[in-house]
Amino acid sequence: MSRAMKNTTAEAGETQPVLSIEKLKVTFATDVGDVQAVKDVSFTVAPGEIVAIVGESGSGKTVTAKAILGLLPETALSSGAVVISGNDIITVSQHQLRQIRGRDVAMVFQEPSTALNPVYTVGWQIAEGLRAHRPEGKRVGRKEARKLAIEALGKVGIPEPETRVDYYPHQFSGGQKQRVVIAAALALNPGLIVADEPTTALDVTVQAEILELLRDLRDQYGTSIVLITHNMGVVADLADRVVVMFQGDVVELASSEVLFSAPKQVYTQQLLAAVPHLGRNSASAGFTERAFQDKEVLVEARDLEIEYPGRLGSPAFKAVDKVSFTISSGEVFGLVGESGSGKTTIGRAIAGLNRTTGGSLNVLGYEMLNFKERSFRPLRKDIGFVFQDPAASFNPHLSIGECVAEPLIIHTDLSGPAITAKVEDLLESVQLPRAYAKRFPHELSGGQRQRASLARGLALKPRLLIADEPTSALDVSVQAKVLELFREIQTELGFAALFISHDLAVVDILAEWVGVLYKGRMVEQGIGNQIMGNPQDDYTKRLLASLPVPNPAEQAERRAIHQALLRGE
């Protein structure tokens, strides 16, 4: 009934937007005074339209999304107007707000595993939203709610919804969980869905499926979607119009085709230029055979197996299964794979943070199968490690200088002033001001911290550097700079590197030789440009096809190819 009504109103006034935001301004009260998170944002969303809000961290995109649902914390003060079907979210009462949520607007969160309550069945969680409202003037009965929940699960493409409705969240995979979250959002047929980074926590292949689902929803049910994301590829894939935000302001608002082909503002141009694009700027461009293959082999894995012991009764989990590869001196080996593929496990095993359980892993002449911390310690000065999250990999109580000095203090006999000088030189080599040695980690930005992390990894001029997703916690523009720096330093110092990433485009920029991992197995390895350009393995093909590129026209083509691939050629 309510859907029918909504449809008529939509038809009656095609120009009537589903959502209209006018001069939205959000201020947070913090310990250091008021912070303006959103300064002046205005845009509208028409029925059946997908509007993407893009921006880097701190641009205010998530705060805007939360303001649409009235989910801002108590410390926030908002002004302006957020009008959804005639109600201004900012001024309505809590009671009205509850009615609007779910009925007129729903939200899809970033992390599907935390958005679902683990102790209730998914059916119950979908029904919860239904029972909170009275769609047709009366409470939804238990059976009725179950029926609607099954219907909603069917809509989002969960197979066998009749049985799956009684499953608990942990019985679903990450992508399916996100489908369930979307089903819960859809249960009351809201005209508008706000999706806050809906695919960021998911693997690329799963991301492609979720994007497909969101597009279907729009096409079939005319649902409008506000998509919050930092991924330009996702934007190119899905959005009709794009709102680019920077430091709380709207920088540019244009249709997707126009924005990607002819960005007007300097910021947008820079942002688009920083996005790594598959096939451009490849490290192995023009290579036909493996570089450095005549050099000394630093790491050699033969039928490497790494198992994690299972809990009582359950068998051990094989994270790495019969993987063989070599890393030669001076070579950058790119290891690509989705979550759970075992790529981080391999990196950690080489650094002696994980024990190997089978096969052979030879690191700098040391057999890791009989690993003893005491005998391996002297070799540690030849191995640098750069961690994924630069914020967490520094001791918050030590200054940057002290952190970078750690390896020098442990492995060399340098005196205090000599170490200080050396640390400052190192910081300079990663393009950080010398004075930053006295700063504390929290006083640096993410990119600066990752540079400092690189400086620490390189402090002892190691022969091998292991970089575990070093740029995945960074914004694109920062990522571009860190990658460039990495490439420069690597060429200059000539160390071998194992570069681990889930992002094919990033790996292609740095690595001459690329290995693709899938469920603990090395499905394919070869020269970077050959893997990217002419993949042989089915999984590699799927992985490449599901990676959205930041160009709407090109992405539409790729999407068609990907669909064909999924249907089975």
Partner: protein
């Protein structure tokens, strides 16, 4: 962005006072005032108290008068002086007990959490076993074992302090162990491991400072518990003898029979001293705990001007 602040404003209590507001600030200020009052009394006891703690008078159970402003006890002690000197005893016991238990608890917690394995398992079992004992019973056993019936000022204070220590070590041990286990998996500890730092270096330089952040909070909360335990020991007669030092719990015990006879002054004052000191320390600890957690900390609403502007824009929208 946080800038360097002066050392003074970064001190534990001062920095929290600056962050606080409203009811939280009231609680914190009340806690600080009561605690400072307690500390001053303990420090200036020789100046404030008109008589010594062990000085006896012929007037037994005398009501408040100009000579003995809070009256005297059945044993002929001056209640006012005993209450003041009691603060000093309580202070010493708290300091000795808490310092000892922090030292041992932190070291054991770090070792147990970082090294793990069988060492960890044994230590946890022992800590659990101590936890399972009734606190006061354990303190009594320790007190008897240590003082062996005889009691001088220091042996009394030490035995009380050590018996309290035994009860508190598991608390510090558990907190530090839990933090250590959490920190052990943090990337910055792993990065130290990868660099080749030794276990001792990792524990001392990387984990220790990060694990002990919550200690000031447990410290204040435990200080109040230490006073209660001391008072409990004294009340049961295992504390410090009246002939060696003043102790609130003992005085309270001996005021029991007075209360039925209508002699109120012997019990009310030491009792109030215990209540106020414990209240002060608890308020201080609790409000520091809340203020350290950004989610529990109250904040001022951001400027009221914007709210007014909000109303006007809203009117405009309605008009349009």
């Amino acid at each position: 962005m946080e800038t360097k602040k002066s050392l003074f404003s970064r001190l534990p209590i001062i920095s929290q006072l600056k962050k606080s507001m409203g009811l939280q600030r009231g609680m914190l200020v009340a806690g600080i005032v009561l605690t400072v009052l307690f500390l001053l009394t303990a420090a200036l006891a020789p100046l404030i108290a008109p008589y010594g703690a062990t000085q006896r008078f012929d007037v037994a159970q005398g009501p408040p008068s100009s000579v003995h402003i809070w009256g005297t006890t059945a044993g002929g002690y001056d209640v006012f002086s005993r209450t003041i000197w009691g603060a000093q005893t309580a202070f010493l016991v708290i300091v000795v007990a808490v310092v000892l238990s922090i030292f041992l608890g932190v070291i054991l917690g770090l070792l147990s959490g970082y090294i793990g394995g069988w060492l960890d398992r044994i230590m946890v079992v022992v800590a659990d076993a101590i936890y399972a004992f009734p606190t006061l019973l354990l303190a009594m056993v320790m007190s008897i074992a240590l003082s062996q019936g005889r009691s001088t000022v220091w042996s009394g204070i030490l035995s009380a302090a050590i018996s309290i220590t035994v009860v508190f070590i598991p608390q510090y041990f558990r907190v530090i162990r839990a933090e250590t286990i959490r920190l052990k998996a943090e990337p910055f500890v792993e990065s130290a491991l990868v660099v080749g730092a030794s276990s001792v270096r990792i524990m001392a330089r990387h984990i220790y400072k990060n694990a002990t952040r919550t200690l000031p909070l447990i410290f204040t909360l435990n200080a109040s518990e230490a006073i209660l335990t001391l008072a409990g020991l004294g009340f049961l007669g295992f504390g410090i003898e009246p002939s060696t030092a003043a102790e609130w719990g003992y005085d309270l015990n001996h005021a029991q029979s007075d209360a039925t006879a209508g002699i109120w002054w012997t019990g009310v004052f030491p009792g109030a001293a215990i209540v106020l000191t414990v209240l002060g320390l608890t308020l201080l600890g609790e409000s520091m705990n809340d203020l350290n957690d950004p989610r529990l900390r109250g904040r001022k609403r951001s400027g009221k001007k914007i709210r007014k502007k909000n109303n006007t824009t809203q009117d405009e929208v309605v008009d349009a």
